[in-house]
């Protein structure tokens, strides 16, 4: 019941944020309409980054307490985190082409995001392919921890890589940075809030679903 009210509230907030994105926020001068992708891209990037830290945290708690609830929460977080990563990657690709002139570059953030997506895949794939039981849940938690420890190293490596390889960016925004005015910043912050609410709502729903699925398996 609480969850339904929460989800309805999230829906209302989401509607407001769509109004803000398309009607309230002004069009950016350099990039035009396409810049509005920012309001979705950044929040989902935020969500997928926070999710991996959250999974590492819940996995650690699971290893410590051996309470199945933490394991279930890690799984739900990973499932929603994977979706966030897909939205982030796709919106990024669509945005990059008109603005930078390429679909993809070797920029550190992009590489890290892509590898992050694969780590989510690996984690969920493992959960599916390994015989279920206590051993699986424990190893899954260990994999999540390893993935979380690895992500900053990947980011660092991608940065060194970037230094050697000048960006192949030729679009209208190759040299100048975009400037955000007040209304845009407010819209962006509001969208981050919206996506965070949505993220929590989805994890919550997924958590309940997984709980039901698990109890059915007895």
């Amino acid at each position: 019941m609480v969850r339904q009210i929460y989800l309805i509230a999230t829906g209302i907030v989401f509607t407001i944020s769509i109004w803000m994105i398309f009607l309230w926020a002004p069009t950016e001068i350099n990039q035009g309409q396409v810049q509005r992708i920012l309001y979705l891209h950044v929040p989902f990037a935020w969500a997928s980054m926070v999710a991996i830290i959250a999974i590492a945290f819940t996995s650690f708690l699971f290893l410590l307490t051996k309470n199945d609830r933490w394991d279930n929460l890690s799984q739900s977080l990973a499932e929603v985190g994977l979706v966030s990563a897909v939205v982030m990657l796709f919106s990024g690709i669509v945005w990059a082409k008109p603005v930078w002139g390429v679909w993809w570059t070797g920029e550190a953030k992009l590489t890290t995001a892509l590898v992050l997506f694969f780590i989510y895949c690996a984690y969920l794939l493992f959960r599916n392919y390994f015989p279920p039981g206590n051993a699986r849940n424990r190893i899954a938690a260990i994999i999540a921890l390893i993935g979380a420890i690895d992500s900053p190293i990947i980011y660092y490596a991608a940065q060194i890589w970037e230094q050697n390889h000048p960006k192949a960016v030729v679009g209208p925004l190759a040299s100048e940075e975009s400037s955000l005015n007040g209304e845009m910043v407010i819209t962006l912050l509001f969208c981050v809030l919206t996506v965070t609410l949505l993220f929590v709502g989805l994890v919550w729903t997924q958590y309940q679903t997984n709980k039901l699925l698990r109890s059915k398996n007895v």
Partner: protein
């Protein structure tokens, strides 16, 4: 401590002896690697200027994929005959199992890299032999063997070993993969102004972090 090294060397000798009998891992590694190289060589015009641009990619994709297939083979028998379990009821510290497996795989990987590099330097007209690359390969092979052995034991219990091992292994080793590809690129193009030292620092830190982490966690993945 003396005992520690003794047990390690017994474990390593055993694995090498088995490999001499079956020759499975090493043959898989070399043949599969060469096969990928051959497929690539069919698609190029053997122009060394062009090959310089993607030589590193070809070399390392063949090593990575051949390596992960061979890794599956390497752990298949252990799981099949439950011999890993029998070591668990013997007085063997669990991290020694990881170390011995990593060292043996490190040896196999290095041998296969020498063969793959020799053949591909002929096929693609590349000049790749330098001290820098050898140093890079050693650092890369350590990281790859340790992380690979860790995930090799995990995935050996699953029915879809190959896909699981590859999916787990490759994202995690991305940092050293970038390191070795950057180094190979420099060597192939004989570029001098590179930040090899930064890369080497990254590679060595990766090895140290994961060696510590995985030898600590290895005991936990073995128990059921």
């Amino acid at each position: 401590m003396l005992n520690w090294f003794k047990v390690l060397s017994i474990l390593i000798k055993k694995d090498i002896k088995i490999e001499f009998q079956t020759k499975e891992t090493l043959v898989t590694l070399c043949l599969f690697g060469l096969l990928i190289i051959t497929v690539f060589s069919l698609s190029t015009e053997n122009n060394s200027l062009i090959n310089q641009n993607f030589g590193a990619g070809i070399l390392w994709s063949s090593v990575i994929f051949a390596g992960s297939i061979a890794m599956v083979k390497f752990f298949y028998h252990e799981e099949q005959n439950k011999t890993l379990q029998s070591l668990l009821v013997m007085p063997v510290p669990s991290e020694l199992i990881l170390f011995s497996k990593s060292i043996v795989f490190f040896i196999f990987l290095s041998i296969s890299e020498i063969i793959i590099f020799l053949i591909s330097s002929v096929l693609f007209n590349l000049n790749i032999f330098s001290l820098k690359l050898i140093l890079g390969c050693i650092v890369f092979n350590i990281g790859y063997s340790v992380v690979g052995s860790f995930f090799g034991v995990i995935s050996s219990k699953s029915s879809s070993k190959e896909i699981l091992l590859t999916m787990l292994l490759i994202p995690i080793i991305t940092p050293i993969l970038m390191f070795i590809i950057a180094t190979t690129n420099d060597v192939i193009r004989s570029e001098l102004n590179s930040n090899f030292q930064t890369w080497l620092g990254l590679g060595i830190s990766f090895d140290i972090i994961f060696l510590t982490l995985m030898s600590y966690l290895f005991g936990k993945i073995l128990e059921d």
